[in-house]
């Protein structure tokens, strides 16, 4: 098991290398390069430009450039953003962006699991009842609404229908401006919550919908197994049969989803964060794309890829952990 885990983690390195090569070629394919942007920048002197050219080998062929980039990366230097003149990851993570990204992803994950599992169980135990139909319909609806449109609709409802502005509440962003210089307080915390709930709702519904469907399906399959029938014929209470016998087994396959959801949440939050104006890494990546900030785009792609791989590894580990039948090597 341990060798499997180590191997699985080490395998991420070649994968990341190839992904970085693909991302690098894509960025080099973009019309206009570092130099065209840099030459237009009056802040850059000819010497510093020359220094940049040498550092990244910008006058060399493509693969040599990649080699230069890789050499710098190994030294921990991912390059400097054109826009902010700061190191790449400082730009991407500027102003606690990384913290917010992970915080939003993690809280959404917890919320969806705490809500989706009971709803899925309820839906399965009330199969074909009207309440089951309602749950299923909303599940489908959650799958069918594009995140950005859902966010727009929430904004519209808050502003036009509920007129929250009249109560002194803003929409979009993380905080109302009057709290900017305030020390941390209960009111400030509440204001954070007020600005965060739309993103939870938007990126939570999509994940929840699929989770509810999975839980419902798994539990229905489990409930038809003979051992459940045995439990019933022993005269156990229905709640014991469901929660102690069936749910425990039905939940197992879901743990893989847990690891796979994490990167999905980080990716899915990009467009929602753009609409709701919440500072996340995705938003920084988006503005880098707008400005053709090549080093930052590169860093962003690597960041998202790393997240994806970590999620996959977590999924594999969790599955190996909960299911003793799975044996490796």
């Amino acid at each position: 098991m341990l060798t499997y885990m180590v191997r699985r983690v080490l395998y991420m390195i070649p994968l990341l290398l190839i992904v970085s090569l693909i991302a690098f070629s894509l960025i080099k394919l973009m019309p206009g390069d570092y130099l065209t942007v840099a030459r237009m920048n009056p802040m850059l002197t000819a010497e510093s430009l020359q220094e940049q050219i040498e550092r990244f080998g910008l006058d060399k062929p493509f693969l040599v450039q990649y080699w230069y980039w890789l050499k710098n990366v190994v030294r921990g230097d991912f390059g400097t953003s054109f826009g902010t003149r700061m190191p790449v990851f400082k730009t991407l993570f500027f102003g606690n962006r990384l913290t917010w990204t992970i915080l939003i992803a993690a809280t959404t994950l917890i919320l969806t699991w705490f809500l989706a599992i009971p709803i899925g169980v309820y839906s399965a135990t009330h199969q074909y009842k009207p309440s089951d139909h309602v749950v299923t319909f909303f599940g489908f609806l959650g799958l069918s609404i594009p995140n950005f449109f859902f966010a727009l609709v929430i904004l519209w409802m808050l502003v036009v229908i509920f007129r929250v502005g009249e109560y002194g509440l803003g929409v979009g962003g993380l905080l109302d401006s009057r709290f900017f210089d305030q020390p941390f307080s209960w009111a400030k915390f509440c204001n954070y919550m007020w600005h965060l709930w739309p993103i939870w709702v938007v990126i939570g519904t999509a994940g929840m919908a699929s989770l509810i469907r999975l839980m419902r399906g798994n539990l229905l399959d489990t409930l038809s197994l003979p051992y459940v029938q045995t439990a019933r014929s022993k005269g156990l209470r229905e709640s014991v049969v469901i929660y102690k016998h069936a749910v425990r087994n039905a939940i197992n396959p879901l743990v893989t989803v847990f690891g796979l959801q994490l990167p999905g949440l980080v990716g899915g939050s990009i467009v929602t964060a753009i609409v709701l104006n919440i500072p996340t890494v995705g938003r920084a990546y988006w503005s880098a794309l707008q400005q053709q900030d090549e080093p930052v785009i590169m860093g962003g792609l690597l960041f998202f890829s790393l997240f994806l791989l970590i999620g996959n590894v977590i999924a594999d580990f969790l599955l190996a952990w909960v299911d003793p039948r799975i044996r490796y090597d």
């Binding site: 994968l15 973009m30 467009v271």
Partner: protein, 388 residues
Amino acid sequence: MARWLRRRKKTEAPPVDDGAPKEYVSRSQGEMIWRAFKRHRVGNVGTVIILIFVLLAVFAEFIGPYHYGKQFRKYPYSPPTTVHFRDEDGSLSRPFVYKTERTRDPATYRTTYVEDTSTKYYVRFFARGDTVFHLFGFIPMNVHLFRAVADDGSQAELFLLGTDALGRDLFTRCLIGSWVSLSVGPMVILCVFPIGIVLGGLSGYYGGGVDMFIQRACEVMLAIPALPILMAMGAALRGFGLSAGMVFMGMIIALAITGWGGFARVIRGQVLAIREMDFVTAARAAGAQDLRVVLRHIIPNVTSYLIVNATLTIPGMMLTEATLSFLGLGIQEPMTSWGALLTAATNVGAIELHPWILIPGIFIVISVLAFNFMGDAVRDAVDPYSIV
């Protein structure tokens, strides 16, 4: 999953054995699939909705009252035109509209449109428009499904869903936008299927080094985060100054490139399982060549999976296209799609003043929902032998 949607079987009285010869019905597989599909009520509703959308798209230029690029300079951000069904005295009338005039509210200084009630413009069907368009690209005509025409023959603007910042009719643009929004899914699938079937098939059938190589390639594809890389590809495409049609093609290719990895993996799994079946061994023993075994014995057995996969992939592709176009990284002017139409709604101020610009989103939700329902019905139907 969709078993709840099926009509509950009526409890019938057990047949009485009256000694008459029993009737047996034999049904072909196609027939059974069709019957199973028809049982899935919500799936049928979804299918009908999709058919309606397709019809609307096919006849878009005829149904939309104006050319989708026509700018009514006097009507930027005009709200949906009110269609009246009652006269001034309250009696029922043929539907009619009034011409509107843009004014500024003296107090709030907001632009409003005020109706000029002097002339009534009746909604007339099959009315002539001013420009000739080509239906299906080759039938020249200038008749539109409806227009607002007064008794003296003069016409008023009729914007069913309002207009955008340039005064273009949103209803027409939604219809034209459906060309891209509805076709993107099927077209991506047309690209992904050949790649996925060939690579997944090779990988599963031959195993060994080929399998090893293709699987590593799949893993790399799956390690690339889809949305961020698609955003980067969109930005790259945008920078080349290509025509709108080329950007659309590029987008489909980009979606296909990011999408084939997972698909090829599943095909590989299916082929691996089928390869071990007795009928494949029998075919081989009978002397069939590899190609024949694959084409005649293995591929037909994965078709049901392919169909299900296709109908369930389409909604995801539609959502991705909408997201990319919304961010300005997808479809470019003069082409448009539902997602691209929503670009106008990026800030709260615009939504507050002109809420009708959110309407294209409703088209997205309904069509994606319909595809999801249809996919669900198809998934249940292709396995018609399972007894519910």
